[in-house]
């Protein structure tokens, strides 16, 4: 099962390596990991996309909670939440492909944020599956480069992760 784990962690040097080290040492999956400081700069918020059985997930949250720098952990996917991922994709945009690329970006509500004679950089935000479909919808030969942030997510409504 796919799970999104949100972590509030002290914004200290080495905090990221403690989390990453825990996952590799115990053989847990990391499909994606994003991290940045929160509105309170002493705290970072990390989102990890992982997968595993219920038992594994239980261990993951317990082991994360055990890290001395970790303040809070929730499994976002346990309840209503929204998730987003950002992708920047550089594509070849010449000849008839130029128009086609623009059209694709529009359909997926992407934005073209860099333009040269032969390339576009398209910014696309959404659920990871949407980004996947966008990629799948393009002629693979036209994709020059992609970069994705990995998933970040937040609980809906009153579900709040705060100290």
């Amino acid at each position: 099962m796919r799970h999104i784990i949100s972590i509030l962690i002290e914004n200290e040097a080495g905090a990221l390596s403690r989390v990453a080290g825990l996952f590799s040492a115990r053989g847990y999956n990391i499909e994606s990991l994003t991290v940045a400081p929160t509105e309170d700069p002493s705290l970072s918020r990390m989102t990890i996309l992982t997968s595993g059985s219920d038992d594994v997930l239980e261990q993951i949250t317990k082991q994360l909670n055990k890290l001395v720098d970790v303040v809070k952990v929730v499994d976002l996917s346990e309840a209503a939440h929204v998730e987003r991922e950002l992708m920047l994709i550089k594509v070849r945009a010449t000849g008839k492909d130029r128009e086609e690329m623009k059209r694709m970006a529009d359909i997926f509500r992407g934005r073209i944020i860099d333009v040269t004679e032969s390339t576009y950089v398209i910014e696309l935000t959404g659920a990871s599956t949407k980004l996947d479909s966008f990629i799948a919808g393009l002629d693979a030969g036209l994709i020059l480069e992609t970069v994705r942030t990995g998933v970040c997510g937040i609980g809906r409504g009153d579900r709040i992760l705060k100290v």
Binding site: G14, S17, D55, Q59, D69, V70, V71, V163
Partner: protein, 565 residues
């Protein structure tokens, strides 16, 4: 204003640390200089940093205090890693202070630089790099706090040399609050009530206890509870001494080399009360086989991640053993009505006991079990026994009957050969007048044998009980049983003359080859040579094996029992 180095020493004084184990070097010279100028904190100069950490670890294990080691950067730190990992696996509180190259050189492959925080991260409870002298005192305070609370463990503090030179006001916080670290102490009362109810309804109960009882200093409470309920008690290797081994209700150690009665009682119990024990793979054997029997499990542990990790638990109770047992005892004060069928269970257990699974074959050679039995008699069962890793360790665990906690000092989780002698040093520094014996093998003892020199310098009269089979016996046993006797690299040749070696270090050496000499030699060592380190080289039957044994992949009840009886 005082220097960072002086701050380090002041912090140790504030923490009432009376002794640190260490080894100097460039990056800690300021600290050693500060150490020189005071008398409160003694320093034991080991001969290898690994031993400093093992000794600090045993100082903790044998007392209720936090052991401290002090080492220099680079090789000093890398030499400590085995010791830190050993303490980590057994949840031993410890603080390791490491020198580091000056902050401005970090990351430049400076002389004797290593990424201490990175190297130790997977085997510490937590670690710190102090980059500013203003953070030094509070960091050391945090280190002691984290090491000793919750599930204990080693904490490393990495201190660059320039930080030890900088000047700062000294202000040691009395208490510490950390928003990210708040271990649970009290158990959930609802869960505790449920557990007590379940215990009273149990027909085939077992109390299975581990290192958590020792770490929580809860042996007395555990004993009270077991007495009230009249339930059988088994201990893990790490839990020995948590319940008096000479008591009728004690069924022995369980697990790979547990007794017939303990393993059967554990397997066929309908209610298991697990107290500070983590269902290790050396304890439950094959997990599928273990879960084939229907039962209910109550698990008290301070670390939620120990609960339902390997065995599904019905009543989890997260909390400190001592606090939770207190609550249980209070609830039982209202009247304890054990199920009448428990009497039948006891009959069954006594039948299993009748199997006498610790009886061992006799021989013209000295049997290792016999040495431990005699050691028990000669020391009145009241010694601190440290051990290394191998057959001798299991013999010590099986045949020395520990009635008190913190008397059995060994490496269970990591299984580190070489700990025995430095463990003896740590025990003696924490308990200066105690009788201390190190039950070891000719393989293990050579892994830290240089510490005989430290023992000479500080007058540490460890009695080294070398169960010399000329073999890496535990390895040989597996090869005999599972590799058709292909003894690949398990025979140790070119052993030193241990008697002469002991004498060369300025100690007393004895070589004991006949069974009838075992007891007199031990008596001599513990009376005439009470104040000497005595290296007792017992030449034992090289074929002796440890039984019972649950082979890898086998179920807990599928024990191999002693061959010819």
């Amino acid at each position: 204003m005082i220097s960072g180095a002086e701050i380090v020493i002041r912090c140790l004084q504030e923490e009432k640390v009376d002794c640190v184990f260490g080894y100097p070097g460039g990056s800690v010279l300021h600290i050693y200089d500060a150490l020189f100028k005071q008398d409160d904190v003694k320093h034991v100069l080991v001969r290898h940093e690994q031993a400093a950490v093992h000794a600090a670890d045993a100082y903790s294990r044998s007392s209720q205090r936090v052991g401290v080691a002090l080492v220099t950067s680079g090789p000093g730190v890398t030499n400590t890693v085995t010791g830190i990992a050993t303490a980590y696996m057994d949840s031993i509180p410890m603080v390791v202070l490491c020198g580091q190259v000056p902050t401005q050189y970090i990351g430049q492959d400076a002389f004797q630089e290593c990424d201490t925080v990175g190297i130790t991260r997977p085997c510490v409870k937590h670690n710190f790099l102090v980059k500013d002298v203003k953070d030094l005192a509070i960091t050391i305070k945090k280190a002691f706090h984290i090491a000793a609370t919750g599930r204990p463990g080693p904490v490393v503090v990495d201190i660059p040399k320039d930080v030890t030179a900088q000047m700062c006001e000294f202000d040691y916080p009395k208490t510490i609050q950390m928003r990210s670290y708040n271990p649970v102490v009290k158990g959930h009362l609802g869960q505790i009530k449920k557990a007590v109810q379940m215990l009273q309804e149990a027909k085939r109960p077992i109390i299975y206890t581990g290192g958590g009882v020792i770490l929580s200093d809860a042996a007395d409470k555990l004993t009270q509870l077991a007495k009230k309920l009249d339930f059988p008690v088994t201990n893990t290797l790490m839990g020995l001494g948590g319940y008096p081994a000479t008591d009728r209700q004690f069924v022995g150690m369980l697990g790979m080399h547990g007794t017939f009665e303990a393993n059967n009682a554990m397997h066929y119990a309908d209610v298991i009360l697990a107290v500070g024990a983590r269902f290790d793979d050396r304890v439950i054997g094959n997990p599928e086989h273990f879960s084939s029997e229907k039962r209910r499990v109550i698990h008290i542990d301070i670390d939620p991640s120990s609960i339902s990790k390997r065995v599904k638990v019905d009543v989890p109770i997260v909390g400190n053993v001592a606090d939770v047992l207190d609550e249980m005892l209070k609830l039982l004060d209202g009247g304890c009505k054990t199920d009448p069928e428990v009497a039948d269970w006891w009959k069954q257990i006594d039948e299993w006991r009748g199997r006498k699974s610790l009886a061992y074959r006799q021989s013209n050679h000295i049997m290792p079990q016999y040495v431990v039995e005699k050691l028990y008699e000669v020391t009145g069962g009241d010694a601190f026994i440290t051990s290394d890793v191998g057959q001798h360790q299991m013999f010590a665990a099986q045949y020395y009957k520990f009635d008190k906690p913190r008397r059995w000092i060994n490496s269970g989780g990591l299984g580190t050969m070489g700990v025995g002698l430095p463990y003896g040093m740590g025990v003696l520094m924490a308990n200066p007048d105690a009788q201390v014996a190190c039950v070891t093998g000719e393989g293990s003892i050579q892994m830290c044998i240089q510490e005989m020199s430290t023992c000479k310098q500080y007058g540490l009269p460890v009695k080294i009980i070398n169960l010399n089979n000329g073999m890496l016996g535990m390895v040989r046993q597996w090869q005999e049983m599972f590799y058709s006797k292909r003894y690949s690299q398990s025979y140790v040749t070119s052993l030193p003359d241990f008697v002469k070696l002991a004498e060369a270090y300025g100690h007393v050496g004895m070589r004991i080859e006949k069974p009838e000499d075992v007891e007199p030699a031990l008596r001599k060592a513990f009376t005439e040579h009470k104040d000497d380190l005595v290296f007792m080289d017992f030449i034992i039957d090289p074929g002796a094996n440890v039984f019972p044994m649950v082979a890898a992949g086998k179920g807990l009840t599928e024990m191999i029992l002693a061959e010819e009886l």
